[in-house]
């Protein structure tokens, strides 16, 4: 069964700093997604990664996928307060027609 693990689960960082969130998954999959969730809100799609070596960037966020290592990273560059949210990675399950989520990384960016 597909398992998705994120780390860290909690991340407090200062504005202007860089950091990386990691997402590991347990079985073969070629599709990985990153979502953002603000408190009390729904999930907003950030990135869709569909192949090994895929890299996507939007503003201060950059996501990459290594399907051989079963690893995706979400890199934050020069963090700003507006990036404070919970970030989830999710992986398509090839066994089932669904997507499994990591537990989420709660990011707080402090001035």
């Amino acid at each position: 069964e597909l398992k998705v693990e994120q780390n860290p689960l909690f991340l407090s960082m200062q504005e202007g700093k860089n950091y990386t969130i990691y997402c590991n998954y347990s079985t073969t999959s070629d599709r990985l997604y990153w979502y953002r969730q603000d408190p009390g809100k729904s999930l907003e799609s950030l990135f869709v990664l569909l192949s090994n070596g895929a890299v996507k960037q939007e503003g201060r966020l950059m996501a990459s996928l290594d399907t051989k290592a079963r690893l995706s990273t979400l890199h934050i560059t020069a963090a700003v307060h507006d990036l404070s949210a919970t970030y989830f990675c999710a992986v398509d399950s090839q066994e089932n027609n669904d997507m499994r989520f990591g537990a989420g990384t709660r990011l707080t960016v402090k001035p």
């Binding site: 809100k41 799609s45 869709v48 989830f88 999710a90 089932n96 989520f101």
Partner: protein, 110 residues
């Protein structure tokens, strides 16, 4: 476009009561899903559907039922509500890569 619409947004149920969470999408997506999200946790799949008339269990189906009589609608039924079903419920739809999520239903069972 409305996307994925969930109703109600909030609901308080007493133990043993039943209710139906509604989900509708206007994107003609074949795939629809119900997830629950407990406080501080990720999403767990309850049920999903790959098309009208076809449903299947996810990770945590106990205590729930679904039906998919049309492409647009995918209601989730709670029978005999229990405190353990207190959660935020998200419906999602897909046609290919990635999901579109509804705004969620916050359910409290007391």
């Amino acid at each position: 476009n409305a996307g994925v619409t969930q109703t109600p947004k909030f609901r308080i149920l007493k133990i043993g009561q039943s209710m139906t969470l509604q989900c509708a999408q206007d994107m003609n997506h074949n795939y629809m899903y119900w997830y629950r999200q407990d406080p501080g946790m990720g999403l767990k799949l309850i049920y999903y559907s790959v098309g009208a008339g076809i449903t299947d269990k996810g990770e945590v189906p106990n205590g729930y039922n679904v039906s998919r009589s049309t492409t647009e609608d995918f209601p989730l039924r709670l029978e005999l509500a229990a405190p353990s079903q207190t959660s935020v419920y998200f419906c999602a739809s897909s046609q290919g890569y990635g999901y579109t999520f509804g705004s969620g239903t916050r359910l409290t069972v007391v």
